[in-house]
Amino acid sequence: MTTAAPKKTPLYEEHVRLGAKMIPFGDWIMPVQYSGIMDEHQAVRNNVGIFDISHMGQLVATGPGSGGWLNEMLTNNIDKLEVGTGQYTFLLNERGGIIDDLIVYRTGPEEFLLVVNASRVDEDFAWLKQHLAASCELTNRSDSFGGVAIQGPRVVDLFHALLGSQVELPARNHIIERKLDGMNLSIARTGYTGEDGVEVFFSAKDAAKFWNTVLKTGEQFGIRPCGLGARDTLRLEMCYPLNGSDLSPEHNPIEAGLGFFVDLKKPIFIGRDVLIQAKENGTPNRLAAFRMKGKGPPPRPHYGVWLAGDQIGETTSGTLSPSLNQGIGMAYLPTQHARAGTEIEIEIRGQKFPATIEKKPLYKKS
């Protein structure tokens, strides 16, 4: 627990002005919703929405050999990154447990931007500093930078209206630099919603100006400011994991079903030995996605998961899916029970409700 005053992003005043409901989120005070989670969720699925992600951390690694050094710190393969591209990856402890999941961009031959979870900035920075190669430098620019995610099928239209129709958005997982009205923008084609979208990073002093420019230009496309509530329902429909809930130092990426972002062919990275074991021998548990059957209360984190009269696990995430209009969630379950089609029960206030393990993602765009 921290007793310090909550941290405010450079967009705090804009959220308050828009009438957002503000809630504590880790060390931060963040908007959970503006017009309502359902409305914001549908705006992102059908049109476009903008999220403040300025609370996320931004670390910059530079110097000769910084790529080689990061390759020993992170699970995915940095050598696959051309300048101007990024990849999803993990920072692990020696036991293979997940310290953080993040996106690393190669912004120059020897320059990398790491976008990390808000709650892990200090921990990541300390861990990386502790393991820093002598030739490299690592800076934490989190306090002087802001960011937004702009997500939804109309994002390309919106950017053409913002930057001119001749400007192409970067390809998926690519990052470009653009200027808009004196503001320097780093625009990355990525997101956490399952829709087409970008994450844009800029100097903290430009945050309000950029936010308001996007909202104004986005009006014609039905843009909505969106809070953490919709961010959670959107990502959970896609089964994107949330660090601190679905990911933790007690679990490794293989258990989480995210082995795709681990390159075991790399000769060395922290946690590699454990992950090779996990890959070869299998893991006792797997992160499974489930969907409730019929009408019932929505599942939430830390609800018991039951099978044939035995509790076999606990939910790590849960919500009502606005797209499916049904309860959905994820839980670590014994591997033999984590297969799609397995019938389970979720315990909600002492009563058990039927659910089925499903393939990820739970929501597929039709």
Binding site: V32, G36, I37, M38, K295, P297, P298, R300, L320, R349
Partner: protein, 125 residues
């Protein structure tokens, strides 16, 4: 925010309408606006004994589950089955179609200990 004058209220944002010896109960406009997007209502069972300030129902939004408390001692005699199919009635018509349950009050005079509209307005100011 709408706070009808002919109802009684609790600190925990339930409204109570006296109907003879019965009390019809729901959550206030203020409460539904705070919760937003009600997606599930766990109704009490007809015949259940209600204890004043005891948890008796649950209203769930996308984000969270919130307990609903019985305003007075009594017995549940009716529940709003319409909420099973359409929980959003709590949002769209909190003082009407969005009612949650009806209690037969053990002592109807208990209702006088609840807040009137003026007192409740002060709570949500």
């Amino acid at each position: 925010m709408n706070v009808p004058d002919d109802l009684f209220y609790t600190e925990s944002h339930e409204w109570i309408k006296r109907e003879g010896d019965n009390a019809r109960v729901g959550i206030t406009d203020h409460a539904q606006a705070e919760l937003t997007d009600v997606v599930y209502v766990e109704l009490p069972k007809v015949g259940a004994t209600a204890e004043a300030r005891g948890q008796i129902a649950v209203v769930e939004s996308v984000k969270a589950a919130s307990d609903i408390y019985a305003p007075v001692n009594g017995t549940v005699v009716e529940v709003n089955k319409a909420l099973e199919g359409n929980p959003a009635l709590v949002n769209t018509d909190p003082f009407g179609e969005g009612w949650i349950f009806v209690l037969k009050m053990d002592s109807p005079d208990d209702i006088k200990q609840l807040k009137d509209a003026a007192a409740y307005r002060k709570v949500i100011e």
